[in-house]
Amino acid sequence: MCPTDVGPPDFKTMLPDVIKKNYGKWKYHEILKPGVMKHVAESGDELYTVRAGSPKLVSTDFIRDLCNVADKYCDGHLRFTSRYNPEFLTPKKENVEPIIKELNKLGLPVGGTGSGPGACLSNVIHTQGWIHCHGAASDASGIVKALMDELYDYFVGKKTLPAKTRLSLACCLNMCGAIHASDVAVVGMHTRIPNIDHEKMRAMCEIPTVAASCPTKAIRRHPDPNIKSVVVDETKCMYCGNCFTVCPAMPLANAEGDGVAIFVGGKVSNARKPPMFSRVVVPHLPNNPPRWPEVVNTVKHIFEVYADNARMGERMGEWIQRVGWERFFKLTDLPFPVQLIDDFELARDTFRSTTQFKWT
């Protein structure tokens, strides 16, 4: 019988010697070039980090490739960032260029660093999508690949950004990865009410639980007592999919209706302005695999307008706050459909009570 509840390995056993020695005693760091950092400890010890991009969905051979590089140059140690980037750590400066060369040979870009003026784009936080999820309103890995092929220069630092820019993607409103505070977020959305399977409902779901799961009270018992199922009020349903999570008989997937929305201007960092939510600026774009041109072009366009117009050091949300939403829509030439005006709980917090506008 195998042991249970052993917990994860102790991280201390996974640290390279230079980190064990200088744990908690780092003094400062510098970004030497895109994807390469130097950390200096109080002791004077130096630690070089090379950060690479990864598609996140990888084979075991990909991990073994990374291990080979780490064995050769990093005494068998590596780590990953919270945004899926593998990082190679070494006290030896002379190892930096060989590591970059090996990574490039593997087809991996080096970059993704920086938070201030001239920052690179970091990797895209994203979910499973059609590769593995039953509730996905869009794909994940496919759109991310299409996006990053076009935004590649921002990751490797050939093009730079006014400040840290975090791009994220979730394939439904559950938002595994909580992407609602990203500079640009792409979110899979349904636009049709659940297609109720009355047979399945009878076999698999509790009607009161299904009705109670709906945040807008759009679900009620079927008026015909002989049908042990529910009906959905089309005027109240906003396609959140919570009912589908609790009951497999309420699928929302619809080839024509499903697509993505684009949110912008969120952040989690406290630097300068407090953390803020991303806001919807495009309520719906179609799923158009494999390259999602409408989504890729819109996101790329928003990046370009931001890069051209924001002041150095300004996050996307800070730039929008300064210039005003009316100018954001003017500069990006995005339409302002009624779906952008909130009518859910706390909607009033988003309405404007002032005569202060920006007209030019």
Binding site: D61, T81, H126, H132, V268, S269
Partner: protein, 387 residues
């Protein structure tokens, strides 16, 4: 179904590393991934997922850590008829040695699809695609080699920490040590879902919040300090000599006008106004550092949109020292969990329960004194209780 997958193949092209290439590497060894590529092509053609809803599977003694997954058309894609996910709890800070990584890879090639996520959104290693029969042997072998499952369902999800003191000069507390300790202490809550819904703990060592604790954890710890930031004037001069525009990029962007250039020196002229936002430190890491009286702010309630809209965590404890054995922090978390467990409805996250019952009731239940740091402003309406 024919074997050609032109839409998926298209994503092998382009400069960004391709997940399709990864699928094809794994497909050389695993028939399941051959089918997985066809399933992806089908979903591209039909613009819809090809996976069924859920399915309860797991390993002996555990209620979480495995997510059941079945394909909609098993007769067409028999090798992914059952294609479950295992979440494996990562080491704090996602530090590895290659021996451990190679071990996981070997176990996964032996029992599963050879496809993984390094890592999933919450932080676990995701082993993507396992038959029902192979779940237990995979777990047994992982466990033998010192790995364990992460959270799923209505349990404590795998807690995560930023790189912290491992490689960051801004770590105001030992994020890695705290998260490892918490993860080991609450193995029961992590493996056997006891709660109304999922719950998350995340620790970031400074207000930059690299693990997005404030956006996605019910219990968020974010490093801060109470004394003044430290400025090294020699290093300030170095920045100035390199023509770094301190006035425009640093001083002018201080949100509270607390810092000024005085005769070439960068001075915290209004320390009482500094809100410890990290801006000046971020831009001049060689010259400016957090203070030495460090600890954490504890905030509660963050969550994604489901059900009543997204929530950012809000302040519960403005400052707490974070030192082993972390008793005060654990007791606070346990009290919060008890109140939530007692009062929460199914699929009601902590923030939604606080909204339903009221923040004052929450504070009373967990015995935390109210303080002005908890709010942006006091209430504007006259409707308060005295009972």
């Amino acid at each position: 179904m024919e074997d050609k997958t032109p839409m998926v193949d298209e994503l092998e092209k382009g400069p960004w590393p391709s997940y399709v290439k990864e699928l094809k590497r794994a497909a050389k060894k695993h028939d399941s991934v051959k089918d997985l590529i066809k399933v992806q092509e089908r979903s591209f053609q039909r613009k819809m997922t090809q996976w069924k809803h859920g399915g309860i599977v797991g390993v002996k003694g555990y209620g979480g850590g495995v997510i059941g997954r079945y394909v909609q058309n098993p007769e067409e894609f028999p090798n992914v008829a059952a294609f479950h996910t295992m979440r494996v709890n990562h080491p704090s800070g996602w530090f590895y040695d290659t021996k451990a990584l190679r071990t996981i890879c070997d176990i996964w090639d032996k029992h599963g699809s050879g496809m993984t996520n390094f890592h999933g959104s919450t932080g676990d290693i995701i082993l993507l695609g396992c038959t029902t029969e192979e779940l237990q042997p995979t777990f047994d072998e992982l466990s033998e080699h010192g790995f364990d499952l992460g959270g799923s369902g209505s349990d404590l999800r795998s807690p995560t920490a930023c790189v912290g003191p491992g490689r960051c000069e801004w770590a105001c507390f030992d994020t890695l040590g705290l998260i490892y300790d918490i993860t080991k202490t609450y193995q029961m809550e992590l493996h056997r879902p006891p709660y109304p819904y999922k719950t998350k703990i995340k620790a970031s060592g400074c207000p930059n919040d690299c693990v997005a604790a404030i956006a996605r954890s019910d219990f968020s710890l974010i490093g801060t300090w109470r004394d003044n930031l430290r400025i090294d004037q020699n290093a300030v001069k170095e920045y100035a000599d390199k023509k770094f525009d301190i006035q425009r990029l640093v001083v002018a962007k201080c949100p509270t006008e607390a810092i000024e250039l005085v005769k070439g020196k960068l001075e915290l002229t209004h320390p009482e106004d500094c809100v410890r936002c990290m801006h000046c430190i971020n831009l001049m890491p060689k010259a400016i550092r957090p203070g030495v009286d460090t600890g954490a702010t504890i905030l509660v309630g963050a969550k994604a949109p489901i059900i009543h809209g997204a929530v950012l965590s809000t302040v519960l404890i403005p400052f707490i020292k974070v030192q082993p054995p972390y008793t005060e922090i654990k007791q606070l978390w346990e009290k919060i969990m008890e109140w939530w467990d007692e009062n929460g409805k199914t699929r009601e996250r902590l923030a939604e329960l606080i909204d339903r019952m009221g923040m004052p009731a929450f504070l009373k239940a967990i015995d935390v004194e109210p303080c002005p740091q908890m709010v942006n402003t006091p209430r504007a309406n006259p409707y308060f209780f005295w009972g």
